[in-house]
């Protein structure tokens, strides 16, 4: 058990703070929601009622989609785009999908390579993009959930104001949907760009995401 915890500490740590934050979000969001209900002379809801509401679902899913979009874009953009001096970038002469030898696929696979890296054909092609496919699928599903939950929440508040509900298609072009999406995207894109650029001149000793402290500022594609 002790060895399992040590060897999985990164995913265990983030899994635990994810759960704790989600619980915290549900409690703070519940109080915030009930304060609004009271101000509008409506009945407060229970915590269980709040976490099964479309309001909670849209708030969670809009953040999920932006995170998975960020990592999906980062993963695929770093195949083709470079940042000289950044440990987040590949070396400058390595743009693109690289050779089979570099990637250890097909004839260049090792004895302990995954079997789908060895076979060639569609299996190797699929496996070669499997991380981007899964991250991109989670992004699209989260964004779909955001659109449905946001639609339901938006229509609930319209009905309270005695306005007609919108169709799902109309909600997709509504400012509420795009304001929620873009407010999350802008911060993700800034943070990703900042990480790529600030890591040129700045260091975190011991981190896999930083250059070694003594590495020259011009060095590209070297992680500690």
């Amino acid at each position: 058990v002790r060895r399992f915890v040590r060897e999985n500490s990164l995913s265990l740590f983030f899994g635990l703070i994810f759960i704790a934050s989600l619980v915290g979000q549900s409690l703070a969001g519940w109080h915030q929601f009930n304060a609004t209900q009271l101000a509008e002379h409506l009945d407060p809801v229970t915590w269980a009622g709040y976490v099964t509401s479309s309001n909670f679902a849209v708030d969670v899913s809009e953040n999920w989609q932006s995170e998975f979009l960020q990592f999906w874009l980062y993963l695929t953009a770093t195949v083709w785009l470079l940042q000289k001096g950044s440990p987040e970038s590949k070396e400058l002469d390595n743009v693109g999908l690289e050779t089979d030898k570099d990637q250890k696929v097909g004839y260049a696979a090792m004895t302990d390579s995954p079997s789908w890296a060895k076979t060639g054909g569609w299996r190797t092609a699929l496996f070669s993009s499997s991380l981007a496919i899964v991250m991109g699928t989670i992004f699209l599903l989260s964004w779909l959930v955001q659109s449905v939950a946001g639609w339901a929440a938006f229509n609930e508040s319209r009905l309270q104001q005695l306005q007609d509900p919108l169709s799902w298609g109309a909600y997709l072009t509504n400012a509420d949907f795009w304001a929620r999406s873009l407010q999350n995207w802008q911060s993700e894109f800034l943070a990703v760009g900042a990480m790529a650029v600030l890591s040129i001149y700045l260091r975190q000793r011991g981190s896999s995401q930083s250059k070694p402290v003594g590495e020259p500022h011009e060095a590209t594609g070297i992680e500690g």
């Binding site: 060897e7 479309s54 679902a57 899913s61 989670i138 959930v145 449905v148």
Partner: protein, 31 residues
């Protein structure tokens, strides 16, 4: 092998469960 498989499965399960629950909740609230 089992050590690296465990957290992979835990995370995929956590994400799938979250998406499924949120979609169920959202669909239930449609007018």
């Amino acid at each position: 092998v089992y050590d690296v498989r465990t957290m992979f499965i835990v995370y995929l399960a956590m994400i799938s469960l979250g998406l499924a629950l949120m979609l169920t909740v959202a669909l239930r609230h449609l007018p």
